[in-house]
Symmetry: C2
Subunit: 437 residues, 2 copies
C-alpha cells in the first residue's frame, strides 16, 4: 500500500492524517467509544474508535485485518516522561474479517500456553511479538554467517536432500518411497561438502539433516538445519578453528546490531567473546572440571552436559573473559570414520567441539584425505566400504589436507535466546509426534 | 596454508619464490624434464619439473594434489602480446596421491561426456573449470536475490521439508516412512510463506520442492529449489510484479559483476532488461503471437513453449528493448486453488507469469485472503477442505490482501547459462533414475 504508514514511524507524524493497516491485536468497547490496539510488523498502536466504527467491528474477533485512516495525536500517559501516540480513527475498513475466536490468546506479552498448544497453533502464535522475534534473530544469525563466509571468499553450496543410501551409516535414517525403490533423507551434508571443497576449496552453506531418532527430549528434532563449512589446503586444525571462531565473532555482534529490539524484547544478553576463545584438550578440560568442582569425570571419553556448562559459563568467563571454549582431541571411538586420527596417537582424533552457552554448539575437525586410510577407517568402524563408494570416490581422485565443521541452526538460536526447548527455536518443528502445521 | 599463493596472483610475483598448491590438471614428460599444469580454484599454471621431480610423480595420475615451491618466470608464448607466467619447480610435495586414472577426462576446455557420465562422476567432473563456473553463477543468483529482498526490509524464512499431508493436493508427492506412519515431502512452500507473510508481511527464502513425476525430460527434476516471495497489504498485482521485476533487475547485473570471469568462460551474454518489462494479458499475448507468426493459438488457455520463446526473444526485445515480458490473466482452470479470481470475471485469475530466456521463469499472483472464499475455491477444484485445515486456518484467523511468486533456481541457472538440460544446472540432480552421488 503506497500510502500506508508503518506503526514505528507514527511518532514522527504528530497531527497528521495517516493510514495504517494491520491486525486487531486487542479491542475494548465503552458505551459511546472504544479502542482497538492495532499490530503491524513494526509495533503496536492504540486507535480510538467512535460508536459508528464500533458498529462496523460487531461480530469481528481479534486478528481481523483492518485499515485505519486517522489523525496521530498524543496519548495521555500516566508517566509524563513517556511520549506515546494514538490514532483518532476517521475511516475504518475491514480488509479481512475474523469471525471465530483465536484458539490461543496471542495479545499478551508472550503466548501463555504449553509447548504443544503453541506449536499446534503456529499460524497464530507466531504473530505474538515475542514469538515473532525468535525468527528475526534466527535469520540474522544466518545472514551474519553468510557475510563472514563470503568475506573469506568461500563458495555457498545448496546441498541435496534425497540420497540413495544412508550418508553416515547407522540405522537412524528415514526411507522414502521413490518410484519402485527406496531412497533416504540425507543425515548429513558431509559427502557433499567434501566433494565441493575439492572444487571450490572453501565452501559453506545451510544444510538440512534428518534423523529418525525416537527421542522426545527438549534437544531433539527429526528435521533440522546446520551451518556447514569445509576448507581445503589446511596446515593444522587451527585453520578450521580460526573460521569457527571467526564466524561466531562476526555473527553475534551482527545479531546484537541488527536485532537490538528483538533481543531487548526477549531480555537477552549475549555471553562475552573475550580476546580469544581458549583451546584445551578434552583431558585438560576434564582435569580442570575435577579441580574446579570436585567431580571426577577424567576417565570419560566425552564431556558431560554439566561439564560443558561449567567450562563455558564458569571457567572460560573467569579465566579468559570468554563464554566460549574449544575442546580438542576427542577419542577415535567417539568420532565418525571421516575424522583424521592423531598421527602420534591412533586412539586420538584431530577433532574439536566449540562449547558455549553451556553446551556444544560446533563440532569439527580435520578429515581423512587419503584413500587407503579412509577405506581402513570405514572397516575399523565395522562398516562396509562398498556402502560408501560415492564417499570414497572423492578420496580416490584427490582431496587436499582439509577440515570443517557443522553448527546446528536451531540449537544456536535456542541458546542465543535462552529458550527451554529447541522446538521453540524451530519455526515449523518436526518430531516423533509432530508433522504439522 | 599461510604461505600459499593463489594461481591468479602469480603474475604480480614475477621473479619471486612462491608456494602454490592444487591439483595436477595435466602433465607431460620429456626425456630430461617435464611439465605439470596445476589447477587451484582461481586458475591454471604450468610448472616446469626437473628429472628428479618427474621421478616423484611416477605412478601418479592427474588429480593428485601437489604443493610446489618454485620461482615465477615468464612463459615463452607464441603471441608476444600475451604475457603468461610459469613456475620453475624447486620443491615438489605430494599432498594426496591419485593412483587410479580418473574415469572421465576433465582437463579439456569442457567435459566431453554424455550427461549420465558427467553426473555419475560429479566428484571429478565438477572440478573442470567450465563445470565449476555453473555453480558460482548459481550462488551469485541467490546472493543477488537475497540482497534485493533484504534491501526491501523483508524477512528470510527457512521452510520445512517434512509434512503430514500433500501440500497442494494431487498425487505427485513422495511418501516417507515416518516411525509408524506416513509423512510426505513438501511439494511447495505455499502454506509456509503465507503463514509467515501474516507475521512478517514481506517474506522470502529459498525452498526445496519435491515432485514424484515420472517424466524424464530435459526440464524435470524430482528435487529442486525455488526462490520464494510473499507480500501482504498489496493494493494490486502490480505490487507483486514490481518485486519480481525488481529482483531480476538486481540479480542479473549482480551476476554480471560478480561472475564476469565465469560468464566469459561460458560465452554467456545476458538478454537486455530494457526500461521496464512489458505487461500484457494472455489474450493479448496470443493475439500478438498470431499476428507476428501466423500461428493461431488464441483459443488456448496457456502459452505454448514456441509462443513463450517468440514473445521473450523476438517480440519483447523488438518492441520494448527487453528480454522479459509479464503475461497476466490466466484462466482459473490453469491455476491452483489459492490464486485470487478476477472480481470482474470469475473464469479469470489475478495471476502472472514472467517469460524470459524463451520460457516461463516466474509464476505468481494475488492469493485468496477470505476464509469462506478459500473453502469454496478448494471445493470448486474437486478437493476436500478437510484435507487443507492447516492451510485454511490462516484464512480463518486473518490474512491481509496479499500475493507472491515462485522462481525455480535450477531453471533460472539453466536459462542464464543457456544449458541444454536442467540437470547440468543442478549440482547433485535427482530424477526418476538418479539418486547419487
Amino acid at each position: 500500500m503506497t500510502s500506508r504508514t508503518l506503526i514505528r514511524d507514527l511518532s514522527h507524524k504528530m497531527g497528521e492524517t495517516v493510514t495504517i493497516a494491520g491486525w486487531m491485536h486487542r479491542h475494548r468497547s465503552m458505551s459511546k467509544f472504544g479502542f482497538a490496539i492495532m499490530r503491524d510488523r513494526t509495533g503496536l498502536v492504540q486507535v480510538v474508535l467512535e460508536a459508528s466504527q464500533l458498529e462496523q467491528l460487531k461480530g469481528l474477533q481479534v486478528e481481523s485485518v483492518l485499515k485505519v485512516t486517522g489523525v496521530v495525536v498524543e496519548k495521555k500517559s500516566k508517566d509524563p516522561h513517556v511520549k506515546e501516540v494514538e490514532i483518532q480513527c476517521k475511516l475504518l475498513e475491514i480488509l479481512s474479517p475474523v469471525r471465530d475466536a483465536v484458539p490461543v490468546n496471542i495479545n499478551n506479552a508472550d503466548v501463555e500456553a504449553n509447548l504443544d498448544t503453541l506449536l499446534d497453533n503456529r499460524v497464530v502464535t507466531l504473530r505474538n511479538p515475542k514469538q515473532r522475534a525468535i525468527f528475526r534473530v534466527q535469520a540474522a544469525l544466518v545472514h551474519g554467517y553468510r557475510e563472514y563466509m563470503e568475506g573469506q571468499g568461500f563458495t555457498e553450496i545448496f546441498f541435496p536432500i534425497l540420497a540413495g543410501a544412508a550418508s553416515e551409516g547407522g540405522a537412524e535414517f528415514f526411507t522414502v518411497n521413490y518410484f519402485d525403490r527406496e531412497a533416504t533423507l540425507t543425515q548429513s551434508a558431509q559427502l557433499y561438502k567434501q566433494i565441493t571443497m575439492a572444487v571450490y576449496e572453501g565452501v559453506y552453506g545451510l544444510s538440512y539433516s534428518f534423523r529418525a531418532e525416537k527421542f522426545a527430549t527438549s534437544r531433539h528434532l527429526t528435521e533440522f538445519n546446520q551451518f556447514e563449512f569445509e576448507l581445503g589446503f589446511v596446515e593444522s586444525m587451527e585453520d578450521v578453528m580460526e573460521h569457527a571462531e571467526g564466524a561466531l565473532r562476526y555473527m553475534l555482534p551482527y545479531v546484537e546490531r541488527e536485532c537490538a529490539d528483538e533481543l531487548k524484547l526477549r531480555g537477552v544478553t549475549l555471553p562475552p567473546l573475550g580476546e580469544k576463545f581458549p583451546r584445551i584438550s578434552l583431558a585438560n578440560a576434564l582435569q580442570l572440571y575435577k579441580e574446579g568442582t570436585g567431580i571426577d569425570e577424567t576417565s570419560e571419553p566425552d564431556l558431560s552436559p554439566a561439564a560443558e556448562k561449567w567450562l563455558s559459563t564458569v571457567w572460560a568467563p573467569k579465566e579468559h573473559g570468554s563464554g566460549f571454549v574449544f575442546v580438542t582431541d576427542y577419542p577415535a571411538s567417539k568420532r565418525p570414520f571421516y575424522v583424521k586420527l592423531d598421527p602420534n596417537n591412533p586412539n586420538n582424533t584431530q577433532s574439536f567441539d566449540l562449547v558455549g552457552f553451556g553446551c556444544e554448539i560446533i563440532s569439527g575437525g580435520l578429515r581423512v584425505n587419503n584413500y587407503e586410510e579412509q577405506i581402513q577407517r570405514i572397516k575399523d568402524k565395522g562398516l562396509n566400504p562398498a556402502d560408501f563408494e560415492d564417499y570414497t570416490m572423492m578420496h580416490k581422485y584427490g582431496i587436499p589436507p582439509e577440515g570443517g565443521f557443522g553448527m546446528g541452526l536451531q540449537r544456536l538460536t535456542q541458546n542465543v535466546l535462552g529458550l527451554a526447548n529447541i522446538k521453540e527455536a524451530t519455526i515449523f518443528p518436526r518430531d516423533v509426534q509432530r508433522l504439522r502445521p
